[in-house]
Symmetry: C2
Subunit: 216 residues, 2 copies
């Protein structure tokens, strides 16, 4: 079903050690596929044959827990690559939190058939970056509810495009499952931050940073 993509390969570019060439290579050997809200991208236990790059939208990576609850490990936004960290089969699941465009790339195509050195290193760097983000998130889970929410907002600001406004592409449940809180606590904390004039919420999915310094 996806055989014709295979032949679209890099003609004359030699593999440099920078990441730029590979990022563009990913763009060239794949087409964006639309995913609906809450649509499954891959599930725990499935063969990890593909990598994914987000064109637009947002994805949650999570462990499914018993009876519908889940622990969200990470959010991926436009430009992010995910699906790493699996040897053979995926150990986590992932779904779109909002309608998204996502590029799907076969691992084997990326690696070349024999295994390309520079691409290996690139994947290693990406995985190492994931590791650092997972560790940072560990830190966040130790603090109180307010600090977790603030940390989340700062992460969104840092990774988003805008400086003083955040477009939340995920639900309160997603945020709560990410921060290890209940949706009630998340909502209450938002309200408290608004009362403290640190932020304002024109709508539940739009957050304006009124006093960015108050988030420290």
């Amino acid at each position: 079903m996806k055989s014709k993509r295979q032949k679209t390969r890099q003609p004359s570019r030699r593999p440099s050690s920078t990441s730029a060439a590979y990022v563009s290579a990913i763009d060239q050997i794949s087409a964006p596929i639309p995913y609906a809200r809450n649509e499954v991208i891959f599930s725990q236990g499935e063969p990890a044959d593909y990598l994914y790059k987000i064109e637009s939208g947002c994805v949650r990576a999570f462990y499914p827990l018993d009876k519908g609850s889940r622990q969200v490990l990470a959010f991926y936004l436009a430009g992010d690559i995910f699906g790493l960290g699996a040897h053979d089969r995926h150990t986590i699941s992932s779904e779109a939190t909002t309608p998204s465009l996502i590029r799907v790339i076969r691992r084997k195509v990326l690696m070349g058939y024999g295994g390309d050195v520079a691409m290996s290193r690139h994947l290693l760097q990406l995985t190492a970056a994931e590791l650092r983000r997972a560790r940072d998130h560990n830190l966040r889970l130790l603090k109180g509810a307010q600090d977790r929410v603030i940390g989340f907002l700062r992460e969104m600001v840092q990774r988003g495009q805008t400086q003083d406004e955040i477009e939340l592409l995920m639900s309160r449940r997603d945020i709560a499952d990410y921060l290890g809180l209940t949706i009630e606590t998340v909502s209450r904390t938002f309200s408290r931050l608004e009362a403290a004039a640190a932020i304002s919420l024109p709508s539940p999915w739009r957050i304006v940073l009124r006093d960015p310094s108050a988030l420290n």
Copy 2:
């Protein structure tokens, strides 16, 4: 300084996808160095030129927080390799929790000068394994105190050699900083598990699993 080791290569084994060849290579190009209790192995911000493999003992990897407190991200035991996940400089610190023997290996030696494909992949697998453990730990931090402690015990059993007995190579403070609890809560939880006949504590650093099924 490392020229003569290079020729010590596996004679007739072709670079298979298993790790065995590289693990033994690590053992051959390094000698164990003794570290004292609480001795610093590397600190946040230092150049990440080396990898480390534990011969015996235990190491804590952690983020230093303000005023002496710290978040322990992982423990490394005999056989484990650590120092991964850094591009250029270490983002975490690490210290021995107990007198330990640790092999120190230059990254560049491992990688060969041009970059060895299979070794790249091996490091990628190790980093991916670290990522999975960091994510598992994330999960653990969401549960209640008793589940965190039980999860810790199960991890120690799984990674240790013995089946029904655990030799704790780290202090209560290390455990508490790892689980995001206070030392009081850790101690209380141990006592409660002992009262419930799930474990027994002949000494503070020795735990006997009396009822392994009770840890589920």
